[in-house]
Amino acid sequence: MDYFDLVKQFDGNLSKAFEDTKTKFFIISFTSDWLYPTQENKDIVIALNAIGADVGFIEIESDKGHDSFLLDVPDFLKALKNFLDKSYIENNNEIRI
């Protein structure tokens, strides 16, 4: 995992990896995740903002480390559920139109 470097193939420019994307992004980090720390997640947010992508971000407080995303962290589950619910509704409306 530590050897994977997405920016390598894009001349060190992470934004280029997402160019022309229409995806709606939601980046979530955990305060105790040392594998993917908040700052690195913020770098992704910055790269996406640089190309005007639709990106939201929240840092969740948790003492459960990197595995927080697999465990019962209520704030995380709430944010994820709400994001998916709302995006699903929005998407469905668009299709109906």
Partner: protein
């Protein structure tokens, strides 16, 4: 909805790209998205309020406006909105410059410290004013850089930005501010609302 939001929404053109800095619970964002077909983003410092915005289906980035605006390229937005938070920043000058770098235009609102009730309070009570729009004590207020409507005009000359529209809001009444009525608006306006440009 707050009359302040109605005024802001009246200033912003339809179908534009807007960033709401300090977007709170997303009330203004939701209104702009639904009524003016605005492509809207928000920045908010409180995790709880970011959660509220997500639950409304709004795109919000958790962050501090004083440091996190630099992630946006120049002219990323048609408008950047800053509602009643300029006075809470450590360096309002840098924030204004950042707003005008990130946005082509900015809408800034300020609670007017020149309002007669504030002056009355200080003059006769001799204590730091507490009013509806300024409900905190001096020691727990987030407002560390209070200014008046008149101060904001002086500020615009000092750091060189243009004020295209200036409005005073009192209760639910909105009125234009110009050179000849500035003294009165600075005395009776509870809120100053400004459309500014580089």
């Amino acid at each position: 909805m707050k009359s302040e939001y109605k005024v802001i929404s009246g200033i912003i053109e339809k179908n534009s790209r807007v960033l709401d800095v300090g977007c709170d619970d997303g009330t203004l964002m939701e209104f702009l998205k639904n009524n003016k077909n605005i492509d809207i983003r928000g920045i908010e410092i409180s995790k709880e309020k970011v959660q509220t915005c997500i639950a409304k289906g709004l795109t919000v980035i958790e962050g501090n406006a004083e440091f996190d605006l630099k992630q946006f390229p120049n002219d990323s937005f048609d408008y950047v909105v800053l509602g009643q938070t300029l006075q809470a920043f450590i360096n309002p000058e840098i924030v204004i410059k950042e707003l005008l770098r990130v946005g082509k235009k900015a809408v800034v609102t300020i609670p007017n410290f020149g309002h007669w009730r504030v002056r009355f309070n200080l003059l006769f009570k001799g204590t730091m004013p507490i009013t509806n729009s300024l409900p905190n004590d001096w020691y727990n207020t987030p407002n560390i850089h209070m200014c008046t409507i008149k101060d904001f005009f002086k500020f615009s000359k000092k750091i060189n930005f243009k004020i295209y529209k200036s409005l005073a809001l009192t209760n639910k009444n909105v009125s234009d501010i110009n050179n000849s009525n500035l003294f009165l608006k600075n005395l009776f306006g509870e809120l100053g609302i400004f459309l500014i440009e580089k």
